[in-house]
Amino acid sequence: MTILGMNRRNALIARLNPREAIKGVNQKFETKERLAASGVPVPPTLALIASETEAATFDYARLPDAFAIKPNRGRRGEGVILVDGRVEGGWRKLNGEVLTERMLRAHVTRILAGELSLEGGNSDAALIEPLIRTHPDFARLVPFGLPDIRIICLGDVPLMAMTRLPTVESGGRANLHQGAVGAAIDFRDGAIFRAVLGQDEVFDHPSTNAALIGAVLPFWRETVDAARRCSGALGLGYVGVDLVIDATRGVQVLECNAYPGLEIQNVNAAGLGARIELVQRQQRAKARKTRGTRQAPDSLAGLRPFGSAGTVLRDVGREMAGRVAGALAIPAPLAA
């Protein structure tokens, strides 16, 4: 079976993602620490406010002109405030509204009370990071907002990639359900080969009219490299890595997901199931070969990063090549 459905995805996650690791990725600060320790680029942390006493003594005036504040255990972008400059008596939010220091303090209080965090929490910490500004090569595709990249990895093998491009309709949010464009990326060169808006295939960005098919993402090799390290760093055998490309800092992992969605298959017009089977077959073959010389437990093969990742990547690439060419062929007659 080539499509990965919910049932099989859940079974895969139950087998490959230990509970502790799943809980771990819900905490943004701890996740960043772990990723950084494995050499994964993440946004720097300006402050972590973990208690009311810390909040009371925190010197807000020393915050930079542009920053992001969010609940450490937030979800769905709830409670994220993005600030882009100073104004009289406070800061200016990205949407143009004014944020006074009093409002900021009130927001921190709400975050600390757990009001904006994952269900079941009654306390949380507030995380403050520098504002990420999209790399110009990437930013030219979208009207405003922060486009991101989602890469699904099985262990250290990247399986499928897409970028989510905000639109005017999505209000600048990189969320497919809210009307952002999803664009499939070719692993070999970081070029977009298919794009969808809702159920419909599109070739240009609906808000900017920028041509999407064939557009190449900046720092693609670094992006894939960063994504591949996340599984090992976090102990997740199956993980959806969300990355952004910062104008000055380059590739940054924003978030890792232990239950990545399946919509990426519709964006790519391809199934994850076939690729997972291919990778697992190769892992088993590899494990059998090493068992000939050395004793290697089979059960670990599914989790361990392994040397032949390159071969698998190449195979996945070759498998996709035909389809990519097909997707590219469609706009040609339109242009002619």
Binding site: I3, G5, N7, R8, D200, G271, A274
Partner: protein
């Protein structure tokens, strides 16, 4: 699928039929509620009784039956979730709702609990504006639903129609509905409510069917044991869900 802004004549006809159907269902529903609580003889009540029989008749099942068919209800829920892929509130809410139906009667059950849900839905925005805690909210909601139904029952001298269990299950559904409404928007929330009610109706129809009732009285343990086996099989199902066939059409096209 087409974009939403494309309105073809077929769509418009479909929409009109939908509205008409909704109106008919709403009218029938209202008439049944009326008949349930007002037993005096008039055009509405006699039409309803002629059409559906006495809507307040109970199921008349032995008490043990309710317990024995519970696993069967659970089985239906497992099937609906992992094979059909329909989204319902909570895990076993449809099963609880169906049990509530069994306690109140084939028509009175669904109608009363739906009425209670509608009352609760109207009360929720009001309660939300009071900024209550989660427990405070739920407690008040239960109280409001009980008061509204109780008032109706007393006003029309039908106290036997309203029992505690269905009302509590109903309040839970209203709370879930509100969570879904806030998280996924009105469309999805309405759809999930409708699916939950439909699955509950399915379970009611199944577990009160004559062969099931007969089996429960003749071979009491057969049903729970069969349900266990079936649920183990269903629980291991890893194929696509029916709903995913259309969801992943685009992915399938390329693959």
């Amino acid at each position: 699928m087409r974009s939403d802004d494309l309105r073809l004549p077929g769509d418009i006809a479909l929409l009109r039929t939908g509205y008409a159907l909704t109106a008919v269902i709403a009218a029938t529903f209202g008439a049944i509620v009326w008949t349930l609580f007002d037993r005096s003889d008039n055009v509405v009540t006699s039409t309803v009784i002629a059409l559906f029989g006495d809507p307040s008749r109970p199921w008349d099942l032995p008490g043990m039956h309710l317990l024995l068919v519970m696993p069967m209800g659970a089985c239906v829920v497992v099937f609906v979730r992992s094979v059909l892929g329909w989204k319902t509130f909570g895990l076993f809410t449809p099963m609880l709702l169906a049990l509530a139906y069994l306690q109140s009667g084939p028509i009175a059950g669904p109608v009363i609990s739906t009425t209670a849900i509608l009352i609760g839905m109207m009360a929720v925005p009001l309660l939300k504006s009071l900024n209550l805690s989660r427990v405070g909210f739920l407690g008040t909601l239960i109280a409001i639903v009980v008061s509204a139904l109780g008032a109706m029952a007393l006003e029309f001298r039908q106290p036997a129609l309203v029992s505690a269990f269905p009302v509590v299950v109903t309040a839970l559904i209203v709370e879930r509905w509100w969570n879904a409404f806030e998280a996924d928007g009105p469309k999805k929330a309405v759809r999930m409510t409708a699916t939950t009610l439909a699955v509950a109706l399915m379970i009611q129809g199944l577990v009160a069917a004559p062969p099931v009732v007969w089996l429960a009285s003749e071979r009491p343990l057969a049903l729970p044991l069969a349900s266990i086996v079936l649920m183990i099989v269903l629980g291991r199902y890893q194929g696509l869900r029916l709903s995913e066939l259309s969801r992943f059409r685009a992915a399938n096209h390329g693959a």
